[in-house]
Amino acid sequence: MINIHEVIETNKMIEQENLDVRTITLGISLLDCAGPNLSEVNRKIYEKITTTAKNLVSVGNKIQREFGIPIVNKRISVTPIALVGAAACKTTEDFVTIAKTLDQAAKQVGVNFIGGYSALVSKAMTTADQLLIRSIPMALSQTERVCSSINVGSTKTGIDMNAVKLLGEIILETAEQTKQKDSIGCAKLVIFCNAPDDNPFMAGAFHGITEGDAVINVGVSGPGVVKKALENVRGADFETLCETIKKTAFKITRVGQLVAQEASKHLNIPFGIVDLSLAPTPAVGDSVAEILEEIGLEYAGAPGTTAALALLNDQVKKGGVMASSYVGGLSGAFIPVSEDQGMINAVEAGALTLEKLEAMTCVCSVGLDMIAIPGNTKATTISGIIADEMAIGMINQKTTAVRIIPVIGKNVGDRVEFGGLLGYAPVMPVNKFSCDNFINRGGRIPAPIHSFKN
């Protein structure tokens, strides 16, 4: 039987160390809503989402009460809309009507974000894909809860550089159209390489085409718990350090597994995966950068950061994999800047640059995340940053992503407030040298060779 010390340990994690379940994300296939008639497509989408997700929020709240574990977000991901709307949408405005339908459906069921305003163009774009991508600035500025993601590359297909070029322009346009709110539209747009089909985390969640009708995916969190556990082994060697992270990750993930199973049972929807990510929030004591500091760095970004992050990421996976029957999504440590107080501090102290962040993305989940850059950055420069990040993912067979915010009217040293879980960020400098001729070539980068790994 459980003893009092175990009970105290668990509750301390929840009450003092910010242990929570970051999200229960309900993936819904909208493939059966497709058709040639746009209003019919919109009606079916609204109906399918509001029916399938009717009890999502109440079940999430019930689980929260019964187990005493906060479940911060209840969210929905849907089939990439470029596929669902392909037959019906002839203009960018047509696609925007679907974005608005998604927004209304999200409001109706009470979720704060709905992901899947997406296109998968890792090799090339169809006409519908292009229309959807071109509609993103309008869609994200006219909706509140819709999140968009575009997969522009993969290890198997290479990188669609036409899409990369276009998205540099689209990101700037989205920033422009949401400039009254510090260009927040860009915080809801992720560019991926090797995007997973079952990621529960926003803004990059979508319900992949390999998935079933509906699925429950859960994202756990808990950087604060890892940080506290490491405080107890200060000065110990790497073996002790790694064992501590592994054991802690196991405990955190078990909670995610339990919540996922309960949600699946109550909603009568199959359990998909638990995403093992250490997802920070702007709250003090809920930071991945603070873990890196606890490992022994003055600030995130100091020499040793990539190695520290690599071991952290690997141990989190090793501990988490055994704790859950199915692991998926992004699974690793997130290193967003604006959503992590320790990362913000590191940037403000001058310890962390865009280039170091890029190096860090080689060894952890996802990529350049929630980074504010000057609003006058050129579209081709943004495309260049995306291309670099996609190349890391393509060559290393991992997921990488870019969620970058050129803040219109702001410059290096200014501060941007996104609010809530999105936090705030100092505007970071970008390399000034041009990559125009590289980006303007057009076409695609071929898939990499799968041998001779050096």
């Binding site: 175990e6 105290i8 019964e66 187990f67 339990l258």
Partner: protein, 90 residues
């Protein structure tokens, strides 16, 4: 019926256990295990209970216990046992 863990945390005083146990008895909730300790000067008590005979549902019991806690100046939480079991047992 899932077993429930009730925790009481706060400043030690006379009658905390009596108060909680009276409530449990009145609601036909059976105590299976009980232990207490002092952590950093705070009174910590844990009970594992079986509420399968209770006339009230989990939410109601949980809220009433919370209410009793605020009356006597301690924090009382009820949680299904599974969260502890999952975390600490393979």
């Amino acid at each position: 019926m899932k077993r429930t863990v009730i925790t009481v945390v706060g400043k030690d005083s006379v009658g905390i256990i009596a108060k909680v146990c009276t409530y449990l008895a009145n609601n036909r909730i059976n105590i299976l295990d009980i232990s207490q300790t002092i952590v950093q000067g705070f009174f910590n008590m844990m009970m594992i209970v079986d509420a399968s005979e209770a006339p009230k549902d989990f939410d109601e019991i949980s809220e009433e216990l919370e209410q009793i806690g605020s009356e006597i100046g301690v924090i009382i939480k009820a949680q299904h046992e599974d969260i502890f079991d999952k975390m600490h047992r393979i």
